[in-house]
């Protein structure tokens, strides 16, 4: 088979169907950009999960003087004593599920609070003795939160046991939801893209039935007859895939680094790096090449007699 002959046939075919080709390119680009976006969102979620889950799992807050005075029910017996704290610590260290424990006193808590909220009105009226002392507990298996919570909640001097993951989980649920929505939209766009490809192939098979009829009669192999159609779809798909890649790269650039610049606005969030984006691109390109080619192949079985 002569490459030049085949290439010129592809060029002719794509130009003949310019509007259809354009529609295929746009729909492939959008569906694959959504696909890549969904993959990146998943990466982002797991990145944040590991970042936050690593930091802390459970906080055991102790009663301070303030709690006792304002009548927080768990703190009826007054502020926590050194003995009570010691007892909690030794009990924690005895538990199998606990990996590490560190202590945060009121001054540290105050400092962290200041760092986080800075010069807001609320932060300015807070004093160090209003902050609670706490144990930050890291678990080997974060799912075992209940074991620790039941062991320490309600103890003398313990104000509350908080699973900090539960706050994060709401965020992750939101991200999961967005992920599913993106995938659903992607599925829809993909169906549209496939239908467009099938239709394009049908139209171009019809408009070239004279050529293909002659090819058939002089004994061209079915692969030879079908190849230009399949390559046409693959080329259009690949162009769409390239656009999808550009969308992903530009998307990360504007969302995270510049434009919206989320990285500056949300310093606490660990964002995915360029490597996460770049590793998705080959996959997107491969799909953009193979999916239209396969769709064209199956469309040809129906619309092109060989």
């Amino acid at each position: 088979m002569r490459a030049q002959f085949v290439l010129s046939e592809i060029g002719v075919g794509l130009r003949r169907n310019l509007t259809m080709t354009f529609a295929v390119i746009v729909s492939v680009a959008l569906s694959l950009a959504l696909f890549g976006g969904a993959l990146l969102m998943r990466d982002q979620a797991s990145e944040m999960k590991s970042f936050w889950y690593d930091k802390v799992n459970i906080s055991i807050y102790f009663c301070n003087k303030n709690d006792a005075e304002t009548g927080v029910p768990q703190c009826g017996k007054g502020a926590v004593t050194a003995d009570q704290k010691k007892q909690v610590e030794t009990d924690l260290k005895k538990m199998d599920v606990v990996e590490s424990v560190f202590y945060e006193d009121a001054d540290q808590a105050f400092k962290h609070y200041k760092e986080q909220f800075g010069d807001t009105a609320m932060a300015n009226v807070i004093t160090p003795d209003q902050m609670q002392e706490s144990f930050r507990v890291k678990l080997k298996d974060p799912q075992k939160y209940k074991v620790v919570a039941t062991a320490f909640a309600g103890r003398d001097g313990v104000q509350s046991v908080e699973d900090q993951r539960s706050i994060l989980d709401q965020l992750f649920e939101l991200m999961d939801g967005m992920n599913i929505a993106a995938l659903f939209l992607m599925g829809l766009m993909l169906v549209i893209a496939l239908m467009l490809i099938v239709n394009t192939v049908r139209v171009s098979a019809f408009s070239r039935r004279r050529e293909t009829g002659i090819m058939r009669l002089v004994g061209a192999s079915s692969f030879y007859i079908q190849a230009p159609f399949i390559m046409e779809a693959a080329v259009a798909g690949l162009i769409g895939g390239a656009f999808a890649c550009v969308l992903l790269v530009v998307g990360r650039y504007f969302l995270i680094d510049h434009g919206l610049a989320l990285a500056d606005k949300m310093e606490l969030v660990q964002f995915i790096g360029w490597d996460a984006v770049l590793t998705k691109l080959p996959l997107v390109l491969a799909i953009s090449l193979l999916m239209p080619a396969l769709a064209a192949f199956f469309a040809l079985r129906k619309y092109l007699k060989v």
Binding site: R2, R210, G213, L217, V218, S221, S222, Y224
Partner: protein, 229 residues
């Protein structure tokens, strides 16, 4: 070259079969006219030869191969040994004469050097030397049919199938085409030609096979178009 053994062909949704129990044999190098009124089964006969259709019953052998047993992917290989000419020429309007002929070689992957040599040669043979760069639209009907014959013959097929090749041409031009087909036949190529042209059949005095309502009703060497009792 061609052998039909009790071949029948019926199409779905048609109660009368297009071919009924046809048996015949065509030897290498023969020239055969296929005659019969419209709907007599001529086209079906030719379609079976090209394996565009498969026989419902019986066996069709072409070039020593049982077409019923030929797997689909081997059909192109078989068709490379056949040439086809049609009433409506079937040329590619956006390609020149030479490109049209070369197309038949390009699609089966002949090397370019060979194509460059073979195309002018076959165009000379059909009497179109010097018109390589003309477009089909600029040629007369007879010349277009010559291009089609050149394309069918450029790969030197064993068997040339012609479906009313003179159907669109005036009598004088038709004679020229028939002379050309006769010349191709003399190179050893078997020719099977379906036709309605009484004059041509009567003049050529070749073997005549007549179909009527799907049945073989006459097989006569050196025959004429109509019945002779």
């Amino acid at each position: 070259m061609i052998r039909f053994d009790n071949v029948s062909k019926s199409y779905p949704k048609q109660n009368r079969p297009a071919l009924r129990d046809v048996s015949l044999e065509v030897e290498k190098g023969e020239f055969v006219f296929l005659v019969g009124s419209s709907g007599s089964g001529k086209s079906t006969f030719l379609r079976l030869l090209l394996r565009e259709e498969r026989a419902s019953q019986g066996q069709v052998h072409v070039l020593g191969k049982d077409l019923a047993r030929l797997s689909n992917w081997k059909v192109p290989q078989m068709r490379r040994q056949l040439g086809c000419v049609f009433q409506d020429f079937r040329l590619l309007p956006n390609k020149t004469v030479a490109e049209n002929v070369a197309f038949a070689q390009e699609v089966i992957g002949k090397p370019r050097g060979e194509i460059r040599k073979a195309v002018p040669q076959v165009l000379d043979l059909v009497g179109l030397g010097g018109k390589e760069d003309r477009m089909p639209g600029e040629l007369s009907g007879g010349e277009q049919q010559r291009v089609a014959i050149a394309r069918a013959f450029v790969n030197r097929p064993m068997l040339l199938i012609a479906d009313e090749p003179t159907g669109n041409l005036d009598p004088q031009t038709s004679v020229g085409i028939m002379k050309l087909l006769d010349r191709i036949n003399r190179t050893g190529t078997t020719v099977v030609m379906a036709t309605h042209d009484q004059q041509i059949v009567d003049q050529m005095r070749k073997r005549v096979i007549e179909l009527e309502k799907g049945r073989l009703v006459r097989d006569q060497s050196r025959g004429v178009y109509g019945y002779q009792h």
